[in-house]
Symmetry: C2
Subunit: 427 residues, 2 copies
């Protein structure tokens, strides 16, 4: 056993409380695994007087982050407060003062991760962020280490629990998006302002992080093409079921001809695909590599203790590295500069739902437009709509997204088509 290592904990919300709890509850085992005891020496909070669900000695609290960062006795800073206005500055200061940093802050890493990793490598400290993607599921370390022998071809997953809860609810209980969202908010799965989850921004941040690591090239939040789930209706969910799919919010990154494609979209997933069975608050990440084939990682993607599991795993690693005298040996992994592939060039199958006049020849007209724009159709459903109109649903073969956009523009402007209501990708 080596000497106690002191940790400064920034944030005592859902994740922070979990970290405190896990370090205490599993403390004796963790000390053995880390080669020595770990002690939370100071905790940054916003409100010193707030009532908290767990008992924490009040003398650990401070509202000044620099009381942690400037404390020479603290060797590891654990940042679980989120946000990034001041956080970047604080973490850079911590790295400069030779403290290893563990963070769960996906917003920050999806934008400033590369800068932080470079600075940490130069300072000879660790910068670890396993908890930033998919909560408790081990994915970042397996990707960087275990799968390092592979050329990764694709990484995709269900990495936002809120939208998966809503879509599972819509699928299983045939309720509307609005009703499912309201229930998610009442249960605390969705925030009062659900935009970041529902519009796919959260998933986009996480896939940017995963894509950077998988392809060893800088992919940031703004490189990801995003469509959220707020436009998904019960009709889409019903057609998915009829056609043998379930609707999931899929974040996917692929390398195609040396370019990186990173897209978040509501997606028709075949019912027999491993990702189709990932329900409720579970997350899963699916990886295709040229040696391993297909591998999937499945577990709880959020929540106090699961996320704390990932944070504490990183803390133990940072502490082990201090004792072994090997801090800061993690490699900066973005040695390539691969261009981001434009959405128009991405190729895939798509689901299209539209309403058209129900009169002779309309299907021929639509088929002609698809033919002209090189959009080949795999399956099709037609249903009576109201009055003189019909609802038509198409699933395409693989098409260039740019060609699909041309087809949709021509359809929308054609007099026989009342409206193109939905376009979703199909895997």
């Amino acid at each position: 056993m080596q000497e106690t290592i002191k940790v400064g904990l920034m944030g005592l919300g859902t994740v922070g409380s979990g970290v405190y709890q896990v370090l205490n509850e599993n403390g004796s085992e963790i000390a053995l695994r880390a080669s020595g005891p770990i002690e939370i020496a100071k905790i940054l909070v916003r409100d010193m007087e707030k009532e908290r669900a767990i008992r924490v000695p009040g003398q650990l609290f401070t509202t000044d982050p620099y009381e942690l960062v400037n404390d020479p006795e603290i060797d590891v800073i654990v940042e679980v407060m989120g946000g990034f206005e001041n956080t970047l500055e604080i973490l850079l200061a911590a790295i400069e003062r030779k403290k290893s940093v563990v963070t769960a802050n996906k917003d920050l890493i999806a934008v400033h991760g590369h800068e932080l990793m470079d600075k940490a490598a130069n300072a000879g400290v660790d910068f670890l962020f396993e908890a930033s993607v998919a909560g408790g599921i081990p994915i970042i370390r397996p990707l960087i280490h275990c799968l390092a022998g592979n050329r990764i071809e694709e990484i995709m997953g269900i990495i936002n629990g809120t939208t998966n809860f809503i879509l599972s609810k819509m699928t299983n209980e045939k309720v509307s998006f609005a009703a499912a969202l309201q229930e998610a908010q009442e249960l605390g799965y969705a925030e009062a302002d659900p935009t970041s989850d529902v519009e796919g921004l959260d998933a986009a941040r996480k896939i940017a992080i995963l894509a950077s690591l998988a392809f060893n090239s800088q992919v940031t939040f703004s490189d990801v093409t995003v469509k959220g789930i707020s436009s998904v209706t019960d009709r889409d969910v019903m057609y998915a079921d009829q056609l043998g799919y379930v609707v999931k919010l899929i974040a996917r990154a692929r390398e195609v001809d040396g370019e990186i494609e990173a897209i978040v979209r509501p997606t028709f997933v075949p019912k027999d695909h491993p990702l189709a069975a990932v329900g409720g608050a579970y997350n899963a990440v699916f990886v295709k590599g040229n040696a391993v084939g297909e591998a999937m990682f499945h577990g709880l993607g959020a929540g106090s203790l699961p996320t704390a599991s990932a944070v504490v795993g990183d803390i133990i690693e940072a502490v082990r590295n201090i004792h072994a005298g090997v801090r800061g040996k993690v490699l900066a992994t973005s040695y390539h500069e691969k261009p981001i592939r434009s959405e128009a060039e991405s190729v895939g199958k798509h689901y299209i739902r539209l309403v058209a006049n129900d009169k002779p020849g309309v299907l021929g007209t639509i088929a002609a437009i698809f033919g002209e724009t090189h959009v080949s159709i795999e399956s099709m459903v037609q249903r009576k709509h109201d009055g003189n109109s019909a609802e038509l649903v198409f699933v395409t073969h693989d098409v260039r997204y740019g060609d699909l956009q041309n087809a949709l523009a021509m359809l929308s402007s054609h007099t026989t088509v009342t409206q193109v209501h939905q376009v979703l990708q199909v895997i």
Copy 2:
């Protein structure tokens, strides 16, 4: 980029060929990830003249392992030849000569792993064995590192592809064990002597390795209670289906009251359990921890390239550590000495299939025996058998295995019971 690191490859069979292929095909990317190029400098083979599926320069071959072990230019020994009569001695010699060792040899590790890890730690070299369990699926590193903050409660999985292929075949195509085994042999999934796979010995070796790491206590092959699948009949598969289960060979280790229970048994797995969907040659490992909750790792558990993926991941790690000057920092993880729990004390649900005389009162007699031995029944099916006999199937509630054995002994010796045909665990 740092200087080239030379590797000695022991074995050029299925896995060895895969390792050669992956290191060549992904070489430029691997060099970047490992901080420098990796070169296979010598290859140990049994037969220098053998025709091989891949092209390898013949001048790399040798039949003398000590040409690799004693070569001062070789820094990493990769052992993928299997067996352990001479292998232990050779690897200990390599460690003594300060070479890092990467191995996929589960037979060896399940018996001598602790000795090898200790020796490697003392010599200041790495000893890595991700490929020894579940082929390409990252499980050992995630368990040791990512989940280090957890008290692991249970680790279980489908970790033998041959038996999973046979049981999947029996389930999906309603064929007998013998027919499924024969097909597995014809397709190359099962060996001519299938004992090690079919009787659960291979799975027992792997669960011994996983249990040692999960509970930080030495668990070896001989500590595992094993029952193979050769007694599983099409009737068992049929009853499983009727009762809402599928039959899988499950290797499971749990910590109960400070003792370790490690058991391999054919098992009724509920159809909605994530492990139920793991088909054919796929493997999956399911982990329960007191922080992460439930996590599952899924992928190809065998085969040339998937296993090579894990081996090459370890080679890259070993090479990175050489360049960073941090070899041999992996901790010896068996700091506890937890006793092995006797099978009689293990508690769980069980499926029992027996044939009895079909006359009034027989069910009452059997029920009385169960009651007397504290075996509580959850569900029961009775079917006409031939002549004057009936087939009875029971699924118990949780029972002590010792109590169940008492019940079975009393049933077997009772005149109304013709024969107890099968007892399988239920999860």
